[in-house]
Structures are given as C-alpha cells and as structure tokens.
C-alpha cells in the first residue's frame, strides 16, 4: 500500500473518530441538572473544552497507530535502522505556536465565563453559611428576615435572584459545594469567603462538604431548596414564629 493511501485511510478513520467523539459528547449526560445561571455557563465551557480535546487526543492516538501499522519491524529487519531525521524547524514552530494560540484562546474564554459567573448584580441578598465538624448551618440576616436574624439547619433561597453566600468555619477548613450550581469555595477559619449564585430551577439539591475535615467528612451533607420568592418569604416568616428554630 502506498504511503499516500495509508495516510488517507488513517485521516479518514481519525475524522470519523472525531465525529463520533463529538456526537457522543452531546449524548452523554455529563453533569447533574443545571440549576443555576452559572451552571449553564460552566457546562458550556466544559463542552467547548471536550470538543477541543477530542481532535487532540485522536491526533495523538492515530499517529501512534499509523506509525505502528506502517513502520513496525518486519521479519528480517532486526538489524535495520530508521531514517536519520533529526528535526524539522517549520513543523516544530507550528506545533509550538498553534497550541499556544489555542490554549490562550481557551483561557481567554474561561475568563469571560468567570467574569460572567462572578459579576455582582445590582440586587443581591446575602446569606451566611457556617461549616463546623460535621454540620452546615445557615444565617439569614435582619435585612432578609425583617425581624431577628435567623440561624437554621435549612437552606432556602429564592429563584432568579442573586444570592451571595458569606462562608465561615468554626474549626477546620471545610468546603461549601453545590454540584447543581457548579460552585464551591472553602470555608476557612479566620476569614470569610464567598460565592454568588443565581438559581434558575426550583428544586432541592445536595450541599456537600468538599474538603477533608475529619472522620465525619463523608457524612457532612445538607440540602439547598430553591423556591419561589413568595415561598421564600413564607418560609422565613414561618421560621420566625418557631421559637425552637435556632440551633
């Protein structure tokens, strides 16, 4: 088989593999449900990364397989040497410059997503989150409750409104993670960390401690309830009237 023919076959197979890979990337359910504005942006970023990665991996694997197919040692070639090719400056410049451009492009796009995800909007409510071994508690300030500040084991947030979590720790480092929102940040003793989210989908989603905090780390879980604005106000009011509400 001529060199030209074998290269053509390999390129066609590689293109087919890329096509199948990209098609699969749409079919596979990669993430839990996207429950926030930030999740939609992050999922799109991830999908772009996957689509950019497939041709790279297919290129590397098909080059290996092509070379093995064409140039493996045949019987009688045990003492034969290969062609004394030391390099090719143009090719080396190409495979230095193109990846650099591609990587800087991806990083630039990721910065756009980051800015969009973290941009402070005009209206925002603040909710406190406190991690301790091995439970999460949530603090709703006076501005939200309209009365006394509320300390609760339950996290309720209104849909379609930006919420900034002010995250604290009472003892060791924890991490406040909501996979459905695609957001997390460590809870560090001595400082207040934060992240903001605009939840877009009603429902209840897991809250997971995502930094090793001791023997109870695997079980340090909670839940966030995304509810309508009306239900949120209703819940806050109901907590006020319950005297046993403060843990």
């Amino acid at each position: 088989m001529s060199r030209r023919r074998s290269v053509t076959i390999t390129i066609l197979l590689a293109l087919a593999a890329v096509g199948i890979g990209i098609w699969l990337s749409y079919e596979i359910r990669w993430f839990p449900v996207a429950a926030s504005k930030q999740a939609v942006n992050t999922d799109r970023l991830y999908h772009v990364l996957v689509i950019a990665s497939i041709p790279i991996f297919v290129l590397v694997l098909s080059t290996i397989l092509y070379n093995v197919w064409q140039f493996r040692m045949r019987p009688g070639e045990e003492l034969k040497d290969g062609a004394p090719i030391h390099g090719n400056t143009r090719l080396e410049v190409f495979w230095t410059a193109i990846p650099t451009v591609l990587l800087l492009g991806l990083v630039g796009y990721s910065f756009v997503v980051l800015r969009d995800n973290e941009k402070k909007p005009a209206n925002e409510i603040k909710i406190g989150v406190t991690g301790q071994q091995f439970v999460w508690t949530y603090q709703y300030p006076r501005a939200l409750t309209g009365g006394a500040p509320l300390n609760s084991y339950e996290l309720y947030i209104p849909r379609n409104e930006s919420v900034q979590f002010q995250i604290h720790s009472r003892d060791v480092i924890h991490a406040f993670w909501v996979p459905a929102f695609r957001l997390q940040e460590d809870a560090v003793p001595g400082i207040t960390t934060n992240w903001r989210v605009t939840a877009t989908r009603l429902g209840t989603y897991p809250v997971i401690c995502n930094l090793l905090c001791g023997a109870g780390h695997s079980l340090m879980r909670s839940a966030v309830h995304v509810v309508t604005q009306a239900r949120f106000q209703e819940w806050l009011k109901s907590q006020q009237s319950t005297t046993a509400g403060a843990p």
Partner: protein, 636 residues
C-alpha cells in the same frame, strides 16, 4: 559478637536506635522539668517523647549503620585513612544491606525499596476500593479510611515515584556520561538509607494512638495541627524523604556538570541525563518548602506556636501556599525523569534520532521554570485573594506547550523508524496515550470556572492517576524492563512482559476513566461513603482496580524469576549507542576500564558510521569516526 556490635552495620544501627529512643525520653523530660509546672502539667508526655523520638531515633540508627562514619572521623581531626574501596560494590546479597558507595548498588537498593513500597501503597488502595465497592460499607471505619488514602498517597509519592527515578538515574547516569561513579558516593549511600526510615515511619503511624495520619498527604491545617500524634509521623517522615531527595539531586547536578567524559558536551548528553538534570534543579529549589510547611506544623503542635491559629493572628492559607510551592514542582519531579526514560526507549526501539533534540532539552528547562509559577492552581477554591487565580491560570495553560512539544517530538521520532514493539516500547507508547489524556484533563482544570466545580472531586482523582499511573508508572515500567538486562546480566520473559503491559493498560483505563464522570456528577474525593447514585460506577471501578492490582503481580513474578534464573544476555541486547550499553551487563565495578571519548550525539541511528563514544585513545582529527566503538561490546 562484640565486633558486630561496634562495627558499622544493622546490629549497631539497631542498638543505637534504642539509645535514640532513650535519648528522646530523657531530653523531653529534662526540658519539661526545667521549664516547670507553670507551663507543663506533666513532665513526661507521650506526644512530646514521640515527636522527638521520631526525629532522633532514626538519626541514631543511621549513625549506627555507618552513614556518617567517614565525616565524623574526618571532623574529629584524626589522620586520614586511605580509601580502600571496601565499601564499594556488591559481591553477595549482604552488600545490599549496608552502607555501600557504588552507584550501581545504590541504584538497585533504591529501585527494590521503591517497588516494595509500590506494592504496599497499592495494597492500601485495594483496601480503599474494597470499602468503596458499595455505599455505606463498613469494611473499615471512616477514620481508618482517611488513614488509608493518606498513607497510600504519601508512600507512593515519597517512597515510590520520586525515589525510583532517583534509583534508575543513580544506576544509569554515571554510565551514560562515562564516569566511574557519582561525585559524592558516601552522600549517595546515606541518601538511600533515609528512605526505609521514612517509609517505615509512615507505615508505623498506623500503630500510633489515634491511628495513622488521616488528613491526606496534603495535611491541611488547622486539621493537621489538631490531629492525633499519627500526624507527626508524616511530618517527620517527609523530612527524611525530602533530605534524601535533596542529597541525590545535589549529587546528580555536580556529577552531570563536572564528570562528563571528554567530548560530552551538554548537547551530546542523552536526554535521560538532561531530564534528571532538570529534575534535580527542581528538587534542590523546591523541596525545602515542604520541609518548611511541616516544620510549621511541628512547631504549632509541639511548641504551641500559632502559625495557623486564626484566633491568635495565624494565617491558615499560608500553609497551603508554602505546601503547594513544593508540591506543584513535585509533580514535575515525578514525571520529568520519566520523560527522559521514554526518550531513551523510543530512540533505541525506533532506531531513530530523537526528533528535535534541542527543543526536547529546552522544553525540560521551560517546564522547570514555569513549574514554579503555577502552584496556586491547586488553590482556586481555597478562599485566597481572587486576583491570584488569573495569572496562575495563564501559566498553567502555557505549561502545556513545552509538554506538548515533547509528545509531538516522540510521535515524530516514530515516523519512518523500524519499530520494535517489545515490552519497553509498548509501555512507552501506552504512556504517550494515557499521559495525553491526563494532560488534557489538566488543561481543563486550568479553566477556573470548570475547576471551581470539580475541585476536590473524583475528576481530580482521575486526572492525578492518569498522569501518575498512566504517566509516571508506565515510564518506570518501561525503564525497568529496558535496563533490566544491563543491571542483572539476564533477560526478562518477554511474553510475561507483554501480558503485564496489556493488562495494566486495559485495567488502568477501566479503573480511572469512569472517575472523570462520577467527579463531574458530584462525587467528592476522600470520602469513605457516597450517594447511592454512584454505586454502580464505584463497584465497576473497584473490580477493575482489583484486576489492575493483580496485573502488577505478573511484573513482580517476572522480575524475581528472571533475576534469579533468566537467560544470560549480551552486553548490548538492544544495540543502543549510549555509553551504558558499551560495557558488560552488569558493568564492571568501576564502570569503564578506560574513560571513553565522546565524538557524536547519542541517537545517531540510521547515520552510516556514526559513533557516540569510542574506547580507543582519542583519535587524531583525520580519523574521527573510523573506529566502530558503538556496535562492538567492550569490557570484561
């Protein structure tokens, strides 16, 4: 009998070890008593004695073993004893269990010791996967599980990957540069013995009250500040392993810079030597930082300092910056020598020069430089100042460029070669495949919004294992198979080698591939149990991991039986051009009967009449290249 107690060796090491424990007891007691009851409620404190004993007793052991004998004798000012080389070379198995100054003996000590810890660390992983096979399992307690993954990672990083590369390098580098040994043979001997100390200490933590250190190999404060005394076993063991690493790196740097054979310019060095040179730069600069991070912890725990006590003005995040300033370069320490090995294997097995040799060398140096600028990508969600994330993301993405140059160059080296697809070559090609996947997940992790979601999840575990197992370990296997005939004078079983490769490749992907998906789906790492939605995947991963563990036994069996009774082989079974193949297998005790002269590059395959090193007297200019020193085996 009395002579054995007084002579350097294991027996003297053993009783001096006990003296060290007594010393630790007395030292802590005296100091606490002198300080008084105002500060110390009890003068005898188990934690205090343990901390001091962990530092002192191993040092006493090393003195007893004889690791410091020469320097103590010299420092005492007595008349110099002429060197009789009695501490050099191995003639019986006993020579491997003492202070030995021969780099070939030390290389084998390192390699065998490292593989023992690979098996132990791998066994710990099997125990973890047994626990994780089902959600809510009680195979081990949560605290024990935390200890398992902490010791697993610590052993495999500090007692396997880093030292096995030091061992292979120790064996091969002097041979490759035409030197009779390393620049500092006694330092070399000492550097090995620090490692069994560190490994036994890490394992010993399982016996400590409160259990093994259980805060991950990363030991974040303040959890590690307040953990039971098992944590101190890690903090001190890392000092011993770190000291070993630094000593070896220093030795490699001086050897490579000053002991190259005549004619061996830097650009005629084999890429394995370049790779170890680059790695040694990383080690000497970065390793002190992990030592510092652990000293902070020891001071907080032992002397009531407040480095990480927020209430007293401590800065919790500072630990992470100092820790990762080493631990990111550490990952390059764990792969760069592997890159060197792959270059050696591919050039010889494809019978071609390495494509783009100069860029391969420069890319190693670029990775060294850039490797110091990316550490905070481990801290994107740590709560550090938000602006730091931006430059760190850029440098993290950019470091993929020199790495990519290497991958593309290896691929180009295959083109129009004559590819011998034996076990070392299969591991090299498998490495390129799985390491590329690990690199791709790494590039994804450089994108901050994505990293914010997957940080500390199984996606990270997947990435780590693709680059460490599919990356470093594949290169280690490639190197061990490749240099096995040189080191033992025997050939391994090729069929078993192929079985080992294919089972490793298949089960490695089966084990770690699905971890990407469960991480994205919301499974955190370092957990002893998980949400039931992940049950199916975890069971699949656990079963695959058991097969992966079993496949390692094929390798162990092959190595042991081939070393003991495999077919004897010639000096240069692979027809390599580099200098280590020009002497017998195994090499003579001082490597070269005559210092070679290097007259060309190390990979001039396919160039008629090309020669790398010659063993005749240096040629007069008109006859350069006339002697075919490359193909004829020399030596006894």
């Amino acid at each position: 009998m009395v002579a054995q107690l007084k002579a350097p060796g294991m027996i003297r090491g053993a009783w001096m070890f006990l003296v060290g424990i007594v010393f630790a007891f007395l030292l802590t007691w005296v100091i606490r008593a002198a300080t008084g009851h105002a500060t110390f409620h009890h003068y005898i404190s188990g934690d205090a004695i343990t901390t001091v004993a962990l530092i002192a007793a191993p040092l006493f052991f090393l003195v007893g073993l004889g690791g410091f004998d020469y320097w103590f004798y010299w420092a005492s000012g007595r008349k110099t004893r002429p060197e009789d080389h009695s501490g050099h070379g191995a003639y019986t198995w006993r020579d491997y269990f003492r202070i030995n100054t021969d780099h070939k003996v030390i290389g084998i000590q390192y390699t065998v010791n490292s593989f023992i810890f690979l098996l132990i660390g791998g066994l710990l992983a099997m125990l973890m996967r047994a626990q994780l096979a089902q959600p809510g399992s009680h195979f081990v307690s949560a605290n024990t599980f935390n200890g398992l993954f902490s010791v697993h990672a610590s052993l495999l990083i500090f007692l396997f990957i880093i030292p096995v590369f030091a061992g292979l390098g120790n064996y091969v580098i002097p041979l490759m540069i035409g030197a009779p040994d390393m620049a500092f043979p006694r330092l070399n001997a000492l550097s090995f013995w620090l490692l069994p100390v560190a490994g036994i200490m890490m394992l010993g933590s399982f016996l400590a009250p409160g259990g093994a250190f259980a805060d991950g190999w990363t030991a974040y404060t303040p959890l590690s500040d307040t953990a039971p005394v098992g944590q101190v076993f890690f903090s001190v063991a890392v000092q011993f392993a770190g000291a070993s690493s630094i000593m070896t790196a220093l030795n490699f740097l001086v050897t490579i810079i000053t002991m190259r054979a005549p004619g061996m310019s830097f650009f005629r060095l084999p890429l394995l030597v370049w790779a170890n040179f680059a790695t040694s730069l990383l080690v000497v600069i970065a390793t002190p930082f992990i030592a510092a991070s652990q000293f902070f912890i020891l001071l907080d725990r032992g002397l009531g300092f407040n480095f990480f006590n927020a209430a007293k003005g401590g800065d919790v995040l500072m630990y992470q910056h100092v820790f990762w300033f080493y631990s990111h370069p550490a990952v390059y320490i764990m792969i760069l020598p592997g890159f060197g090995i792959i270059s050696e294997v591919i050039a010889v097995k494809a019978r071609k020069p390495i494509f783009g040799y100069r860029m391969m060398a420069f890319s190693l140096l670029a990775i060294v430089g850039l490797g110091f600028t990316v550490w905070a990508h481990h801290m994107f969600t740590s709560g550090m100042a938000a602006w730091i994330r931006i430059p760190m993301a850029i440098t993290t993405a950019i470091i993929a460029v020199p790495t990519g140059i290497k991958v593309f160059s290896w691929l180009a080296t295959l083109y129009r070669g004559v590819l011998r697809l034996d076990t070392p070559m299969l591991f090299a090609l498998g490495f390129i495949t799985t390491f590329t996947l690990g690199g791709i997940s790494g590039i994804m992790l450089a994108m901050i919004p994505f990293d914010i979601h997957v940080s500390a999840t199984y996606f990270i575990v997947a990435h780590i294992h693709y680059v460490l197992f599919g990356g470093s370990l594949m290169t280690i296997f490639a190197g061990v198979y490749y240099w096995f005939p040189k080191m033992t004078g025997r050939m391994y079983d090729e069929r078993l080698g192929k079985w080992h490769f294919w089972s490793t490749f298949v089960f490695m992907n089966a084990t770690f591939g699905p971890m990407h998906v469960i991480g994205l789906q919301g499974m955190p790492r370092r957990v002893a149990t998980y949400a039931s939605e992940f049950a199916g995947m975890n069971l699949f991963i656990s079963i695959a991991s058991f097969f992966l563990g079993a496949s390692t036994l094929i390798f162990v069996y092959n190595m042991i039986t081939s070393w003991r009774g495999g077919p004897r082989t010639v000096a240069n079974p692979w027809r390599g051009m580099t200098l280590e193949w020009q002497v017998s297998s195994p090499p003579p005790v001082f490597n070269f009967d005559r210092v070679p002269t290097v007259v060309g590059g190390p990979y001039e395959y396919g160039v008629p009449g090309a020669v790398h090193g010659i063993f005749a007297p240096p040629p007069v200019p008109a006859t350069v290249g006339a002697d075919s020193g490359a193909a004829t085996p020399h030596g006894p």
